[in-house]
Amino acid sequence: MGRFFTFVGVVSSFGLKALVDAFRPPIEWEFFLFQIEEIGWRSLPLILAAGFALGVVLSMHTRVTLLQFGAEALIPSLQSAAFFNELGPLITALLVAGRVGAGIGAGIANMRVTEQIDAIESLSIDSFKLLVVTRIVACILILPMLTLFMDFASLAGGFLAESFASHISLQLYVDRAFKTLEWANFIPPTLKTSVFGFIIGTVSGYFGYTTDEGSAGVQRAATNSVVLSSLLIILADVVLVKAIFFLFPRNAI
Protein backbone atom coordinates (compact mmCIF):
# COMPACT_ATOMS: atom_id res chain seq x y z
CA MET A 1 0.00 0.00 0.00
CA GLY A 2 2.89 2.29 0.86
CA ARG A 3 4.42 1.65 -2.57
CA PHE A 4 1.13 2.57 -4.24
CA PHE A 5 0.96 5.94 -2.48
CA THR A 6 4.65 6.57 -3.22
CA PHE A 7 3.91 5.84 -6.87
CA VAL A 8 0.91 8.21 -6.82
CA GLY A 9 3.15 10.92 -5.33
CA VAL A 10 5.91 10.46 -7.90
CA VAL A 11 3.46 10.39 -10.81
CA SER A 12 1.62 13.43 -9.46
CA SER A 13 4.82 15.49 -9.35
CA PHE A 14 5.59 14.25 -12.89
CA GLY A 15 2.15 15.45 -14.01
CA LEU A 16 2.40 18.78 -12.20
CA LYS A 17 5.76 19.45 -13.83
CA ALA A 18 4.07 18.77 -17.17
CA LEU A 19 1.28 21.26 -16.37
CA VAL A 20 3.81 23.94 -15.44
CA ASP A 21 5.86 23.22 -18.57
CA ALA A 22 2.74 23.45 -20.72
CA PHE A 23 2.70 27.21 -20.16
CA ARG A 24 6.45 27.68 -20.63
CA PRO A 25 7.42 28.82 -24.13
CA PRO A 26 7.96 27.60 -26.75
CA ILE A 27 4.49 26.08 -27.02
CA GLU A 28 4.68 22.90 -29.08
CA TRP A 29 1.65 23.64 -31.29
CA GLU A 30 2.62 21.31 -34.11
CA PHE A 31 3.11 18.31 -31.84
CA PHE A 32 0.08 19.22 -29.77
CA LEU A 33 -2.21 19.25 -32.81
CA PHE A 34 -0.71 15.97 -33.95
CA GLN A 35 -1.61 14.47 -30.58
CA ILE A 36 -5.12 15.89 -30.74
CA GLU A 37 -5.54 13.98 -33.99
CA GLU A 38 -3.90 10.83 -32.64
CA ILE A 39 -5.74 10.78 -29.32
CA GLY A 40 -9.02 12.43 -30.27
CA TRP A 41 -9.84 11.89 -33.90
CA ARG A 42 -8.52 8.33 -34.03
CA SER A 43 -10.40 7.36 -30.85
CA LEU A 44 -13.68 8.69 -32.19
CA PRO A 45 -14.83 5.55 -34.08
CA LEU A 46 -14.27 3.43 -30.97
CA ILE A 47 -16.14 5.89 -28.76
CA LEU A 48 -19.06 6.25 -31.15
CA ALA A 49 -19.40 2.50 -31.69
CA ALA A 50 -19.12 1.71 -27.99
CA GLY A 51 -21.56 4.48 -27.02
CA PHE A 52 -24.11 3.41 -29.59
CA ALA A 53 -23.92 -0.27 -28.60
CA LEU A 54 -24.10 0.51 -24.89
CA GLY A 55 -27.09 2.77 -25.53
CA VAL A 56 -28.92 -0.10 -27.26
CA VAL A 57 -28.02 -2.57 -24.50
CA LEU A 58 -28.95 -0.28 -21.62
CA SER A 59 -32.24 0.56 -23.26
CA MET A 60 -33.10 -3.12 -23.72
CA HIS A 61 -32.20 -3.94 -20.11
CA THR A 62 -34.11 -1.06 -18.56
CA ARG A 63 -37.16 -1.70 -20.73
CA VAL A 64 -37.58 -5.20 -19.26
CA THR A 65 -37.53 -3.85 -15.71
CA LEU A 66 -39.50 -0.64 -16.18
CA LEU A 67 -42.19 -2.41 -18.19
CA GLN A 68 -43.12 -4.36 -15.05
CA PHE A 69 -44.00 -1.06 -13.36
CA GLY A 70 -45.57 0.52 -16.43
CA ALA A 71 -42.84 3.11 -16.40
CA GLU A 72 -41.30 2.56 -19.84
CA ALA A 73 -41.83 6.26 -20.57
CA LEU A 74 -38.92 6.88 -18.20
CA ILE A 75 -36.46 4.96 -20.37
CA PRO A 76 -35.13 8.01 -22.28
CA SER A 77 -34.61 10.09 -19.13
CA LEU A 78 -33.03 7.16 -17.31
CA GLN A 79 -30.75 6.61 -20.27
CA SER A 80 -29.67 10.25 -20.46
CA ALA A 81 -29.23 10.52 -16.68
CA ALA A 82 -27.10 7.36 -16.59
CA PHE A 83 -24.88 8.33 -19.47
CA PHE A 84 -24.48 12.08 -18.90
CA ASN A 85 -23.89 11.66 -15.16
CA GLU A 86 -21.69 8.63 -14.94
CA LEU A 87 -21.52 5.99 -17.63
CA GLY A 88 -20.44 8.31 -20.46
CA PRO A 89 -17.53 9.93 -18.59
CA LEU A 90 -16.33 6.71 -16.97
CA ILE A 91 -16.61 4.41 -19.98
CA THR A 92 -15.03 7.01 -22.27
CA ALA A 93 -12.11 7.36 -19.88
CA LEU A 94 -11.64 3.61 -19.56
CA LEU A 95 -11.80 3.11 -23.32
CA VAL A 96 -9.30 5.91 -23.92
CA ALA A 97 -7.06 4.51 -21.18
CA GLY A 98 -7.05 1.22 -23.06
CA ARG A 99 -6.51 2.59 -26.54
CA VAL A 100 -4.47 5.72 -25.92
CA GLY A 101 -2.80 4.88 -22.61
CA ALA A 102 -1.17 1.76 -24.01
CA GLY A 103 -0.16 3.68 -27.12
CA ILE A 104 1.40 6.54 -25.16
CA GLY A 105 3.21 4.21 -22.76
CA ALA A 106 4.55 1.89 -25.46
CA GLY A 107 5.26 4.72 -27.93
CA ILE A 108 7.36 6.83 -25.57
CA ALA A 109 9.06 3.75 -24.08
CA ASN A 110 9.99 2.60 -27.58
CA MET A 111 11.46 6.03 -28.28
CA ARG A 112 13.48 5.73 -25.08
CA VAL A 113 14.94 2.30 -25.87
CA THR A 114 15.69 3.19 -29.51
CA GLU A 115 17.58 6.32 -28.40
CA GLN A 116 15.07 8.64 -30.10
CA ILE A 117 14.59 10.60 -26.87
CA ASP A 118 18.37 11.00 -26.52
CA ALA A 119 18.45 12.14 -30.14
CA ILE A 120 15.84 14.81 -29.43
CA GLU A 121 17.81 15.97 -26.38
CA SER A 122 21.02 16.04 -28.43
CA LEU A 123 19.27 18.46 -30.80
CA SER A 124 18.75 20.91 -27.91
CA ILE A 125 15.03 20.14 -27.84
CA ASP A 126 13.25 19.48 -24.54
CA SER A 127 12.00 15.91 -25.04
CA PHE A 128 9.75 16.07 -21.97
CA LYS A 129 7.85 19.04 -23.37
CA LEU A 130 7.75 17.64 -26.85
CA LEU A 131 6.61 14.11 -26.04
CA VAL A 132 5.00 14.11 -22.60
CA VAL A 133 3.49 17.57 -22.11
CA THR A 134 1.80 17.61 -25.53
CA ARG A 135 0.19 14.22 -24.86
CA ILE A 136 -1.01 15.12 -21.35
CA VAL A 137 -2.54 18.42 -22.50
CA ALA A 138 -4.16 16.72 -25.49
CA CYS A 139 -5.68 14.08 -23.17
CA ILE A 140 -6.98 16.78 -20.80
CA LEU A 141 -8.68 18.70 -23.59
CA ILE A 142 -9.93 15.81 -25.68
CA LEU A 143 -11.58 13.65 -23.00
CA PRO A 144 -14.59 15.97 -22.42
CA MET A 145 -15.19 16.14 -26.16
CA LEU A 146 -15.02 12.39 -26.59
CA THR A 147 -17.36 12.06 -23.60
CA LEU A 148 -19.95 14.20 -25.37
CA PHE A 149 -19.72 11.98 -28.42
CA MET A 150 -20.14 8.92 -26.19
CA ASP A 151 -23.20 10.47 -24.48
CA PHE A 152 -24.96 11.38 -27.70
CA ALA A 153 -24.04 8.11 -29.42
CA SER A 154 -25.60 6.24 -26.49
CA LEU A 155 -28.79 8.29 -26.85
CA ALA A 156 -28.82 7.45 -30.55
CA GLY A 157 -28.46 3.77 -29.68
CA GLY A 158 -31.14 4.05 -27.02
CA PHE A 159 -33.51 5.74 -29.45
CA LEU A 160 -32.93 3.03 -32.05
CA ALA A 161 -33.71 0.29 -29.53
CA GLU A 162 -36.78 2.15 -28.28
CA SER A 163 -38.07 2.96 -31.73
CA PHE A 164 -37.97 -0.74 -32.60
CA ALA A 165 -39.66 -1.70 -29.35
CA SER A 166 -42.29 1.05 -28.96
CA HIS A 167 -42.16 3.06 -32.22
CA ILE A 168 -41.42 6.22 -30.22
CA SER A 169 -40.78 9.33 -32.32
CA LEU A 170 -37.40 11.03 -32.25
CA GLN A 171 -38.92 14.26 -30.96
CA LEU A 172 -40.68 12.54 -28.05
CA TYR A 173 -37.57 10.54 -27.19
CA VAL A 174 -35.43 13.70 -27.12
CA ASP A 175 -38.04 15.59 -25.09
CA ARG A 176 -38.17 12.83 -22.48
CA ALA A 177 -34.40 12.36 -22.46
CA PHE A 178 -33.65 16.00 -21.68
CA LYS A 179 -36.74 16.85 -19.63
CA THR A 180 -35.19 16.07 -16.28
CA LEU A 181 -31.59 16.75 -17.28
CA GLU A 182 -30.09 19.98 -15.93
CA TRP A 183 -26.86 21.72 -16.76
CA ALA A 184 -25.54 20.61 -13.39
CA ASN A 185 -26.07 16.99 -14.47
CA PHE A 186 -24.23 17.62 -17.65
CA ILE A 187 -21.35 20.08 -17.26
CA PRO A 188 -19.55 18.91 -14.07
CA PRO A 189 -19.55 15.21 -15.03
CA THR A 190 -18.31 16.07 -18.51
CA LEU A 191 -15.59 18.38 -17.24
CA LYS A 192 -14.43 15.85 -14.66
CA THR A 193 -13.14 13.78 -17.57
CA SER A 194 -10.36 16.35 -17.92
CA VAL A 195 -9.03 14.90 -14.66
CA PHE A 196 -9.31 11.43 -16.19
CA GLY A 197 -7.41 12.74 -19.22
CA PHE A 198 -4.72 14.10 -16.93
CA ILE A 199 -4.46 10.71 -15.25
CA ILE A 200 -4.22 8.82 -18.55
CA GLY A 201 -1.62 11.18 -20.04
CA THR A 202 0.44 11.43 -16.88
CA VAL A 203 0.50 7.74 -15.91
CA SER A 204 1.20 6.56 -19.47
CA GLY A 205 3.74 9.31 -20.07
CA TYR A 206 5.49 8.46 -16.80
CA PHE A 207 5.82 4.75 -17.57
CA GLY A 208 6.96 5.43 -21.11
CA TYR A 209 9.40 8.23 -20.33
CA THR A 210 11.06 6.54 -17.37
CA THR A 211 11.52 3.06 -18.81
CA ASP A 212 15.06 1.76 -19.20
CA GLU A 213 14.62 -1.96 -19.68
CA GLY A 214 14.72 -2.54 -23.44
CA SER A 215 11.86 -4.27 -25.24
CA ALA A 216 10.60 -5.82 -22.00
CA GLY A 217 10.30 -2.29 -20.66
CA VAL A 218 8.16 -1.27 -23.63
CA GLN A 219 5.74 -4.11 -22.95
CA ARG A 220 5.67 -3.33 -19.24
CA ALA A 221 5.10 0.36 -19.90
CA ALA A 222 2.10 -0.43 -22.10
CA THR A 223 0.55 -2.84 -19.59
CA ASN A 224 1.19 -0.67 -16.54
CA SER A 225 -0.16 2.39 -18.33
CA VAL A 226 -3.52 0.74 -18.94
CA VAL A 227 -3.85 -1.03 -15.61
CA LEU A 228 -2.85 1.87 -13.37
CA SER A 229 -4.63 4.54 -15.44
CA SER A 230 -7.86 2.52 -15.23
CA LEU A 231 -7.48 1.94 -11.50
CA LEU A 232 -6.70 5.58 -10.76
CA ILE A 233 -9.60 6.75 -12.96
CA ILE A 234 -12.07 4.66 -10.96
CA LEU A 235 -10.61 5.83 -7.64
CA ALA A 236 -10.59 9.45 -8.78
CA ASP A 237 -14.18 9.08 -9.94
CA VAL A 238 -15.29 8.29 -6.38
CA VAL A 239 -13.66 11.49 -5.13
CA LEU A 240 -14.91 13.59 -8.03
CA VAL A 241 -18.52 12.37 -7.74
CA LYS A 242 -18.44 13.24 -4.05
CA ALA A 243 -17.01 16.67 -4.89
CA ILE A 244 -19.71 17.27 -7.52
CA PHE A 245 -22.42 16.31 -5.03
CA PHE A 246 -20.89 18.72 -2.55
CA LEU A 247 -20.71 21.59 -5.05
CA PHE A 248 -24.04 20.82 -6.77
CA PRO A 249 -26.27 19.28 -4.06
CA ARG A 250 -29.22 18.90 -6.45
CA ASN A 251 -27.22 16.30 -8.39
CA ALA A 252 -27.22 14.10 -5.32
CA ILE A 253 -30.98 13.92 -5.09
Binding site: P26, M111, T114, E115, Q116, D118, A119, I120, E121, S122, L123, S124, I125
Partner: protein, 246 residues
Protein backbone atom coordinates in the same frame (compact mmCIF):
# COMPACT_ATOMS: atom_id res chain seq x y z
CA UNK B 1 47.02 31.89 -23.56
CA UNK B 2 46.29 29.04 -26.01
CA UNK B 3 42.77 28.36 -27.35
CA UNK B 4 40.76 25.89 -25.29
CA UNK B 5 40.56 22.33 -26.58
CA UNK B 6 37.39 21.40 -28.50
CA UNK B 7 36.79 18.65 -25.93
CA UNK B 8 38.52 18.03 -22.63
CA UNK B 9 38.06 15.17 -20.18
CA UNK B 10 39.59 16.06 -16.84
CA UNK B 11 39.87 13.13 -14.39
CA UNK B 12 36.45 11.77 -15.36
CA UNK B 13 35.03 8.76 -13.53
CA UNK B 14 31.68 7.05 -13.85
CA UNK B 15 30.19 4.03 -12.13
CA UNK B 16 27.02 2.13 -13.05
CA UNK B 17 25.94 0.03 -10.08
CA UNK B 18 29.06 -1.82 -8.94
CA UNK B 19 30.83 -1.44 -12.28
CA UNK B 20 33.33 1.35 -12.80
CA UNK B 21 32.91 2.25 -16.46
CA UNK B 22 35.34 5.19 -16.56
CA UNK B 23 38.19 5.50 -14.10
CA UNK B 24 40.01 8.82 -13.89
CA UNK B 25 40.12 9.41 -17.65
CA UNK B 26 41.79 12.58 -18.95
CA UNK B 27 42.44 13.68 -22.53
CA UNK B 28 42.07 16.67 -24.83
CA UNK B 29 40.87 16.89 -28.43
CA UNK B 30 42.01 19.84 -30.50
CA UNK B 31 39.71 21.78 -32.80
CA UNK B 32 39.44 20.21 -36.25
CA UNK B 33 40.92 16.93 -35.03
CA UNK B 34 39.34 13.50 -35.55
CA UNK B 35 39.76 11.23 -32.54
CA UNK B 36 38.65 7.61 -32.70
CA UNK B 37 37.92 5.90 -29.40
CA UNK B 38 38.51 2.14 -29.45
CA UNK B 39 38.38 -0.63 -26.91
CA UNK B 40 36.61 -3.81 -26.05
CA UNK B 41 32.85 -3.81 -25.43
CA UNK B 42 31.74 -2.26 -22.15
CA UNK B 43 34.90 -0.23 -21.58
CA UNK B 44 33.16 3.15 -21.48
CA UNK B 45 33.47 4.32 -25.10
CA UNK B 46 29.82 5.18 -25.70
CA UNK B 47 29.56 6.47 -22.13
CA UNK B 48 32.36 8.94 -22.92
CA UNK B 49 30.51 10.09 -26.03
CA UNK B 50 27.27 10.58 -24.13
CA UNK B 51 29.10 12.62 -21.52
CA UNK B 52 30.43 14.91 -24.24
CA UNK B 53 26.89 15.91 -25.20
CA UNK B 54 25.60 15.98 -21.63
CA UNK B 55 23.29 12.97 -21.85
CA UNK B 56 25.24 11.48 -18.94
CA UNK B 57 27.04 13.22 -16.10
CA UNK B 58 30.27 11.88 -14.62
CA UNK B 59 30.42 10.97 -10.93
CA UNK B 60 33.58 13.05 -10.65
CA UNK B 61 35.79 15.12 -12.93
CA UNK B 62 35.01 17.73 -15.55
CA UNK B 63 33.97 17.58 -19.19
CA UNK B 64 34.65 20.77 -21.11
CA UNK B 65 33.35 21.58 -24.57
CA UNK B 66 35.38 24.58 -25.67
CA UNK B 67 35.56 26.69 -22.55
CA UNK B 68 32.22 25.46 -21.14
CA UNK B 69 32.20 22.98 -18.25
CA UNK B 70 29.07 21.07 -19.22
CA UNK B 71 28.98 18.99 -16.04
CA UNK B 72 28.13 21.98 -13.91
CA UNK B 73 26.32 24.10 -16.47
CA UNK B 74 22.61 24.90 -16.39
CA UNK B 75 20.12 23.29 -18.79
CA UNK B 76 20.04 26.52 -20.81
CA UNK B 77 23.82 26.64 -21.12
CA UNK B 78 23.96 22.95 -22.02
CA UNK B 79 21.29 23.51 -24.65
CA UNK B 80 23.33 26.40 -26.09
CA UNK B 81 26.46 24.24 -26.26
CA UNK B 82 24.54 21.39 -27.90
CA UNK B 83 23.47 23.67 -30.74
CA UNK B 84 27.01 23.47 -32.03
CA UNK B 85 27.17 19.70 -31.73
CA UNK B 86 25.87 16.82 -33.79
CA UNK B 87 25.40 13.23 -32.64
CA UNK B 88 25.13 10.20 -34.88
CA UNK B 89 23.67 7.42 -32.75
CA UNK B 90 24.56 3.77 -33.26
CA UNK B 91 20.98 3.02 -34.32
CA UNK B 92 20.72 6.41 -36.10
CA UNK B 93 17.75 7.11 -33.77
CA UNK B 94 15.61 8.74 -36.43
CA UNK B 95 12.16 9.75 -35.19
CA UNK B 96 10.11 6.91 -36.61
CA UNK B 97 6.84 8.82 -36.96
CA UNK B 98 8.50 11.47 -39.17
CA UNK B 99 9.64 11.32 -42.77
CA UNK B 100 13.33 11.68 -43.45
CA UNK B 101 12.79 15.29 -44.52
CA UNK B 102 10.89 16.11 -41.33
CA UNK B 103 13.61 14.48 -39.22
CA UNK B 104 16.08 16.97 -40.66
CA UNK B 105 13.69 19.92 -40.64
CA UNK B 106 12.83 19.51 -36.94
CA UNK B 107 16.05 20.99 -35.49
CA UNK B 108 16.06 23.73 -38.12
CA UNK B 109 12.49 24.75 -37.37
CA UNK B 110 13.07 24.64 -33.63
CA UNK B 111 16.52 26.15 -33.30
CA UNK B 112 16.89 28.53 -36.21
CA UNK B 113 13.85 30.78 -36.11
CA UNK B 114 15.35 33.11 -38.69
CA UNK B 115 14.93 30.54 -41.47
CA UNK B 116 11.83 30.65 -43.65
CA UNK B 117 10.12 27.39 -44.69
CA UNK B 118 11.72 27.62 -48.14
CA UNK B 119 15.17 28.14 -46.60
CA UNK B 120 14.59 25.16 -44.31
CA UNK B 121 13.58 23.03 -47.28
CA UNK B 122 16.67 24.12 -49.17
CA UNK B 123 18.92 23.31 -46.20
CA UNK B 124 17.30 19.88 -45.84
CA UNK B 125 17.67 19.17 -49.57
CA UNK B 126 21.32 20.26 -49.57
CA UNK B 127 22.20 18.15 -46.54
CA UNK B 128 20.44 15.08 -47.91
CA UNK B 129 22.19 15.54 -51.24
CA UNK B 130 25.50 15.67 -49.40
CA UNK B 131 24.88 12.19 -47.98
CA UNK B 132 23.30 10.87 -51.16
CA UNK B 133 19.71 10.61 -49.90
CA UNK B 134 18.12 13.50 -51.76
CA UNK B 135 15.68 11.18 -53.55
CA UNK B 136 14.51 9.62 -50.28
CA UNK B 137 13.29 12.78 -48.56
CA UNK B 138 9.68 11.57 -48.28
CA UNK B 139 10.53 8.10 -46.99
CA UNK B 140 9.84 6.96 -43.45
CA UNK B 141 12.81 5.62 -41.44
CA UNK B 142 11.34 2.10 -41.58
CA UNK B 143 11.69 2.19 -45.37
CA UNK B 144 15.45 2.81 -45.22
CA UNK B 145 18.20 0.19 -45.20
CA UNK B 146 20.80 0.09 -42.41
CA UNK B 147 23.35 2.05 -44.40
CA UNK B 148 20.77 4.60 -45.53
CA UNK B 149 19.65 5.05 -41.94
CA UNK B 150 23.22 5.76 -40.85
CA UNK B 151 23.59 8.33 -43.61
CA UNK B 152 20.22 9.84 -42.67
CA UNK B 153 21.33 10.04 -39.03
CA UNK B 154 24.52 11.70 -40.17
CA UNK B 155 22.52 14.16 -42.27
CA UNK B 156 20.42 15.11 -39.24
CA UNK B 157 23.56 15.54 -37.16
CA UNK B 158 25.00 17.80 -39.87
CA UNK B 159 21.98 19.91 -40.70
CA UNK B 160 22.89 22.60 -38.14
CA UNK B 161 26.53 22.68 -39.32
CA UNK B 162 28.03 21.45 -36.03
CA UNK B 163 31.52 22.35 -34.89
CA UNK B 164 31.75 19.07 -32.99
CA UNK B 165 30.41 15.83 -34.43
CA UNK B 166 30.07 12.78 -32.17
CA UNK B 167 29.67 9.45 -33.91
CA UNK B 168 28.77 6.20 -32.16
CA UNK B 169 29.75 3.02 -34.02
CA UNK B 170 29.30 4.30 -37.60
CA UNK B 171 30.06 0.92 -39.17
CA UNK B 172 28.18 -1.41 -36.82
CA UNK B 173 25.83 -3.74 -38.66
CA UNK B 174 27.08 -2.62 -42.07
CA UNK B 175 28.95 -4.52 -44.73
CA UNK B 176 32.53 -3.49 -45.42
CA UNK B 177 31.71 -1.47 -48.56
CA UNK B 178 28.91 0.51 -46.91
CA UNK B 179 31.07 1.03 -43.82
CA UNK B 180 33.81 2.40 -46.04
CA UNK B 181 31.31 4.76 -47.70
CA UNK B 182 30.33 6.07 -44.26
CA UNK B 183 34.03 6.59 -43.43
CA UNK B 184 34.45 8.55 -46.68
CA UNK B 185 31.46 10.68 -45.72
CA UNK B 186 32.98 11.40 -42.30
CA UNK B 187 36.25 12.44 -43.94
CA UNK B 188 34.32 14.71 -46.28
CA UNK B 189 32.45 16.23 -43.33
CA UNK B 190 35.71 16.84 -41.46
CA UNK B 191 37.17 18.61 -44.46
CA UNK B 192 34.12 20.62 -45.59
CA UNK B 193 32.76 21.62 -42.15
CA UNK B 194 36.19 21.97 -40.48
CA UNK B 195 34.50 20.05 -37.65
CA UNK B 196 36.04 18.21 -34.74
CA UNK B 197 35.11 14.53 -34.89
CA UNK B 198 34.92 12.03 -32.04
CA UNK B 199 34.17 8.55 -33.29
CA UNK B 200 33.58 5.45 -31.18
CA UNK B 201 34.34 2.42 -33.29
CA UNK B 202 35.45 -1.20 -33.38
CA UNK B 203 36.43 -0.89 -37.03
CA UNK B 204 40.23 -0.65 -37.17
CA UNK B 205 40.33 0.21 -40.87
CA UNK B 206 37.84 3.03 -40.39
CA UNK B 207 39.66 4.34 -37.32
CA UNK B 208 43.02 4.41 -39.12
CA UNK B 209 41.42 6.01 -42.18
CA UNK B 210 39.41 8.76 -40.46
CA UNK B 211 41.15 9.30 -37.14
CA UNK B 212 44.06 11.70 -36.67
CA UNK B 213 44.60 10.03 -33.31
CA UNK B 214 43.20 6.97 -31.60
CA UNK B 215 42.35 6.64 -27.92
CA UNK B 216 42.21 3.14 -26.43
CA UNK B 217 40.08 2.44 -23.36
CA UNK B 218 40.31 -0.75 -21.35
CA UNK B 219 38.42 -1.50 -18.13
CA UNK B 220 37.51 2.17 -17.85
CA UNK B 221 41.08 3.46 -18.11
CA UNK B 222 42.75 5.27 -20.96
CA UNK B 223 45.65 2.98 -21.84
CA UNK B 224 46.70 4.44 -25.17
CA UNK B 225 46.44 7.78 -26.99
CA UNK B 226 48.28 8.71 -30.15
CA UNK B 227 48.47 8.27 -33.89
CA UNK B 228 47.91 4.79 -35.30
CA UNK B 229 51.65 4.52 -36.01
CA UNK B 230 52.51 5.48 -32.45
CA UNK B 231 50.04 2.98 -31.03
CA UNK B 232 51.46 0.23 -33.27
CA UNK B 233 54.62 0.57 -31.18
CA UNK B 234 52.82 0.65 -27.81
CA UNK B 235 54.37 -1.45 -25.09
CA UNK B 236 50.89 -2.72 -24.16
CA UNK B 237 49.86 -5.74 -26.15
CA UNK B 238 46.12 -5.02 -25.94
CA UNK B 239 46.66 -1.60 -27.55
CA UNK B 240 48.69 -3.10 -30.38
CA UNK B 241 46.08 -5.82 -30.93
CA UNK B 242 43.16 -3.36 -30.93
CA UNK B 243 44.69 -1.02 -33.51
CA UNK B 244 46.29 -3.71 -35.63
CA UNK B 245 44.71 -4.19 -39.07
CA UNK B 246 45.74 -7.83 -39.36
Amino acid sequence: MSDPAAVEFDHVSKTFGNRKVLDDVSFKISEGEALCIMGRSGTGKSTSLRMMIGLLKPDSGRVRIGSEDIVHSSEEDLSRVRRHMGFLFQSAALLDSFTLGDNLALPLRRLDKSKSPSEIKRAVDETLERVGLDLDIAKMPSELSGGMRKRAGLARALVLHPKLLLVDEPSSGLDRITASEIDDLLLKVKKEYCATLVIVTHDVRGARKVGDRIAVLDQGRLIGLGTATELDKSDQEIVRRLVSES
